[in-house]
């Protein structure tokens, strides 16, 4: 496979190209589609939004790590959580590669302790609490991806929609585990 970073070796190279219009062939290799052109400002905007998505995935990965090691979950639930965490790692890797290819610097993860504080892990007392938190985060993530699609460049719409679909799949499983009824109205997310 061609080295996708060879054409766009640094953000400076990317953003200083004459005419502010760039070929995005390299990015197309990351997300598997043909990409046309975008302005430098649009690219910077995409980098900023994709980095927020990376931060979201970092937190999701950490949340599942905290849950899996909490001692509050049955082994079968831990297995499901680890599988979902693997999906989030997959999202992170795709997003990191996209940001790097655009010439940006991917958002870095915080410490597990900081994530634990931010999601108030100390308030989790049993398996239901953990599942409820996971459901809130997954529902929110599905909505977040759907809500940011219009702000992203066209080239990232499909991948963001795919990630929203993954998050909604997770939410459905978690809602079922918690015994939530199936919503009656259509358009459950977004």
């Amino acid at each position: 496979m061609q080295d996708i970073t060879r054409n766009l070796s640094s953000r400076r190279d990317l953003l200083s190209m004459t005419g502010k219009t760039l070929s995005l062939a390299a990015v197309s290799l990351v997300i598997g589609r043909e990409i046309k052109t975008a302005s430098a400002a649009d690219l910077s905007q995409d980098i900023a939004i994709l980095n927020a998505a990376i931060a979201l995935e970092h937190e999701g990965i950490a949340a599942y790590q905290i849950a899996a090691t909490s001692g509050l979950l049955q082994p079968a639930i831990v297995d499901i959580g680890v599988a979902f965490q693997g999906h989030h790692k997959g999202h992170r890797d795709i997003l990191v590669k996209a940001v790097e290819t655009l010439g940006g610097t991917p958002a870095i993860e915080k410490s597990l302790e900081e994530y634990a504080r931010n999601i108030k892990a100390e308030t989790l007392k049993n398996q239901t609490d953990v599942l409820r938190l996971a459901l809130d985060l997954e529902r929110g993530a599905a909505n977040a991806y759907l809500g940011l699609i219009p702000s992203l460049g066209n080239d990232f719409h499909q991948i963001a929609a795919q990630m929203a679909a993954d998050e909604s799949f997770h939410a459905a499983i978690l809602a079922n585990a918690l015994g939530e009824p199936i919503p009656k109205a259509a358009l459950l997310f977004g």
Binding site: A52, A55, N118, D136, L137, G140, N143, G147, L148, P150
Partner: protein, 152 residues
Amino acid sequence: MKRRLNIMLYVCAVLMSGEVFANDAAKSEGTVPMQMISEGDSVPPNAVSDEQRVKNEKLYRQRCGACHALDSNRIGPRHRDIYGQKAGSVSGFNYSEALQNLDVIWTDVTLDEWLKNPTAFAKGTSMGFRLRKASERKAVIQYLKSLSRYSE
């Protein structure tokens, strides 16, 4: 005699009507939805019923909860007391340059524009999430307003 009877009936009527008013007052506490109060009334204009507040909170969690919390900085800044404050001013949060340079106070109007299309409001922001429905923007703003000591 007839006059005394009339007075007694009058007194009874007054006492009964007082009881009715008292019952009405009791019913109006807590669960009966309140309307938004216009400016000039004694109740703050951002007062909402408990029922509406619960709905607003649920929507806030669904739409904003992936990235925001009320009391901790996560992917986005914490939201308690953000209404009425300057954009980009939450301590401890690492804002984008776009937000650092944004000279805006968060009000009903500015929050509505921001939530409608944040990248148009502050080009370069890392918040790409758009809240498409005006009714949802209104509910989220109402919720943020109800949680802010700077909402007056």
